[in-house]
Symmetry: D2
């Protein structure tokens, strides 16, 4: 951490500050220029509150040099983390995983058809929303526990591990048989939920919020890991920008940046990023080429009658041709499915 | 709602769609151009799912014409809503309200000093965080129930209604004596929480999320109101942009835009928007001049030792001079405190 | 400037780098931690290229501590700059200036009516576009030299100094009688144009680009000032964000931030920021309250028939009532018109 | 175009408006609902000014349905445009083109080495900045005419067509032997420059501005094409968002979106988008996979001593391995180099 002092900062006050830091076992290095005085803090600064230091009258600015996350940081964990998502399938470290299924679980018949078809096309995991975060209170809110039952029935029949979203701490009890618990973009900084998930021994798929930086995503992973749960899968699903031709802007650079900063696997959700079915294939291919460890794709047997997100859902036929295309790119990257 | 069809859309399929809409009691108006066919839908379209309609193969695009919110909409409720925040203080419809206090409740001594001083300077309500959403799992997470006790003690002693943040549905039981429950920016789309708050008979202060549009803020207010709780106070606290000299970008235009679209009162939080104490006064004045119904200001007796947000906290002296300045602008706007 | 080295940076290469900097008369301070090695550079670092230093294999990151601008920097010029805009009117240092007029100069009759009316309402300067940057090649492109003639005729008749936009270096010859040359948002980083304007002895009104940071705005001012022209007026006119209810997002915080960083006067253009006439008054009041030195307002005698920007133009009656309102706020700020 | 009227809009005024439109040969379709009255305009609406219509007192809102660009629109030109960039190399319609070279032309020796090496690695075109837009007036501003001479010398020796940036209309005379003229991101809406380039018979590489939408990029292409020059190559090079770990955010979705909306070829510049050499390869691969027709890559023989943009420049060795990797992806896409 570096502290930049105001031009005429009082030397006695600077001295007092140095004593304070020494008590916290932090070493001080000092650069005195003509117009600027800089102080370098060496040691474990993760617990220091930048905002409190900025509030000190003699301080002009404070800059962090080290990343504020540890457990998610590749510097302290060089090897890629490989996560077992169930039924023998893995993600990370060369293992590629495709998670597919409808936006919302609607009924058992729909789920059965879709699961059988995505499996045939080569997907490893089944997704489907039982608890649905909807912008409008007047929209379909999900089948809840019933929806989870349908998902588990499909897993038992087809061997596809289940990924589904949790919206509230009080629902954790319904997720016992779920293989991977998803935290949605709007809950990325629901810190209470993250803490509870940190106590589980189950993979968590953590989606990046629409206005969250990569550093904040890693800090939210750190919340889960700090509780003892190391199995975190990160998901890039688009950020909010001024461009309106796509629903969100897929931040493709986030893939290599996260993989440099962290050892955790990264999946991409091109369906939510784009909001349009015809954009899913080119974005999915780009994600593989940029180094993603997996994809999350919305597939619906009848998009115009989907209870949510019809515009961005692939038909099973579209999905089958997507998988055929994707396989070539996964091969080229030297990765294997599952 | 307007549907734009693809160039060579099949007339039979268009006809089938028209029949579908008619069954839902929606009237159809039709514009046939050389290159474009447009269909206008007249009736209650709030329950229609735009994304499903977009998924219909013959549809090129769909545009909403009417706002998707009703209860929060000024079109159906022309008069300003006035909310009683406790102890006889009101907000909205010409009543101006200042909510002040520390970022975090730290101990009773601190709370007593700050409450007495902000009251003397003219604030109506006391704020203070008992449950703290912190980006880092290693940072101070709040005193929780104990913090709420301290706030209530201060209210009982000084007559200052209490505004404090809820982070999870399961904590609602601790908020019985709290006057106004705050929903933080990160929870603006925690729809489960919003639904629960809709069942209470207590004012809710709803903060705009960093990446949320004004329409989404109004939709979140609609969630609370749809449950039966009409007492929603909206709060603009800065959005995320590319500018890095301020922590967030205060969207000052949101004040007049919200007041045109909705009858609900609007407060501004210049402390979080800017992240810097020296910016609070100019932004607070601008907010009053733009039509805000209130302000939410962080005040701490010792900012450099605050357990959170020191950089943006005013000292009680700064706050006193802010209030003296603000009063002139509130007068000029023809509003009255409390 | 601070250089952060990679974990295992070779000591000999660090030593070689230190020698390089010493040759450039830059002093080095060195902080060696367990995981991080930091080097502080003290001296004139404005000429160092951050990107080249970042390209050195042993370097992990580089951070600037001092601002890269000098002439625009308040640190080296504490007093507010006051600029004479013609006809005895001034801006900055307590002098407030209102610039009003149509988006485009359309004909002499229109200009005569508008000029007489804005003058009567209390505006100091006349604005009007002769060269028009239009997004569409099929839209009205301005009257060019003829438009400037009309503006000068109005100035001669009414004593209102003229502010008008330049689009290309080759047109400078037509701006001899123009009092203040405006550089539009899209040309904020047209560096060739800025250099040419730096050679003039005439105030330049420099608008912030839609995607430009405050620091970049100050660097563009520096371009003009580096050429010898100190008379730069900065203009905040909204930045691009995800919010679509307003055309752009007025960055109200930019006013106090610029005034802290720089001694140059700042005006605000609420017409372009909002894109809607009904938003101009609340935003204009907010701008005054936040410390602006002036306003730039679009006024048209017949907005529905304006050749450009009708939606955001005030009628002369609206403008008159705006001025009556604004005067109270300018008074409260202790500033005087002209 | 669709006009939405205010709730109590006067019927006589609506009638008058309809007459106005009829005179402009525009057909009217009318939808009267309980709360909303909508009017559909059918015909050539590209010349109508949305802002003027919005300014009409009875109008609540106006929405465009048809794209405002014609010549760049795939609807009116279904086949991919293929552009000859010189020396027999083509771009678009299955022809892939790599443009490589240093950010700035520094001297002949440097240019000779780099050109020979990029050619050997398989690049078709040489890039290099002779006129340099630099944020700081104190930074290296380019060799200008001398720089163009060096580029032409390299072309003559190695057969690599030259792509270089123009900054001002007055320099066009120096670009006679340049094969492709580049318009930089900051000049994307320098409409005067676009108009002049529209009069040439030479390919123009038009970069997207940092805050510009895809529609605005296509409108700027339309400016050039409206003048008679159909040879426009579009370039995505990153947009400005809140994320700070990369210099800009590469909008990968822009590639398929542009290719759907327009017939013009699209290249991607991963060097400027990311600002970091180590990010160039994953982003380049992603661009190919998403459907780009070419790449623009910065290569420098000695990045730490580059006069500009060292941090994002590849060494010739890096570039050679990038090309080897890229070839596999270009093959997979069924495209051919040159």
């Amino acid at each position: 951490m570096i502290i930049i002092f105001k031009k005429d900062a009082d030397q006695n006050e600077i001295q007092r500050l140095i004593e304070d830091f020494k008590k916290k076992d932090i070493k001080i290095h000092f650069s005195q220029g003509e117009n600027t005085t800089i102080m370098g803090l060496v040691g474990d600064t993760t617990a220091l509150d930048i905002n409190s230091i900025k509030a000190i009258p003699i301080v002009e600015d404070v800059r962090r040099v080290q990343e504020p996350y540890k457990k998610a940081n590749r510097k302290f964990h060089e090897m890629d983390t490989v996560i077992d998502v169930g039924s023998g399938f893995r993600i990370g470290g060369g293992h590629f995983c495709v998670i597919a299924g409808p936006c919302s679980v609607e009924n058992m018949e729909q789920m059965d058809i879709i699961t059988s078809l995505i499996k045939k096309s080569g997907a490893q995991c089944l997704r489907g929303g039982a608890y649905k975060p909807r912008t409008s209170p007047y929209a379909f809110q999900g089948l809840m526990e019933q929806g989870i039952d349908y998902l588990i029935d499909c897993k038992n029949k087809y061997g596809t591990p289940v990924v589904t979203e949790i919206m509230d701490v009080s629902d954790i009890k319904y997720f016992d048989d779920v293989d991977v618990i998803q935290v949605g973009a709007r809950n990325m900084q629901n810190f209470r939920l993250l803490k509870e998930l940190g106590l589980l021994k189950k993979p968590i798929l953590l989606k990046r919020g629409l206005a969250n930086t990569i550093e904040e995503l890693l800090m939210s992973a750190e919340y889960i890991m700090a509780g003892g749960n190391d199995q975190v899968i990160l998901c890039e699903r688009g950020i909010r920008t001024f461009e309106t031709m796509t629903r969100n802007t897929l931040d493709i650079s986030a893939i290599p940046v996260i993989k440099k900063q962290s050892h955790l696997p990264v999946v991409v959700d091109p369906s939510h990023a784009s909001g349009a079915a015809w954009l899913v294939q080119p974005l999915a291919k780009a994600a593989v080429a940029a180094g993603a460890d997996g994809l999350m794709i919305e597939v619906h047997n009848d998009p115009p009658h989907a209870l949510s997100d019809g515009a961005q859902s692939l038909t099973p036929e579209n999905f089958d041709s997507l998988m055929a295309e994707i396989k070539k790119y996964v091969d080229l990257e030297g990765k294997t499915f599952g």
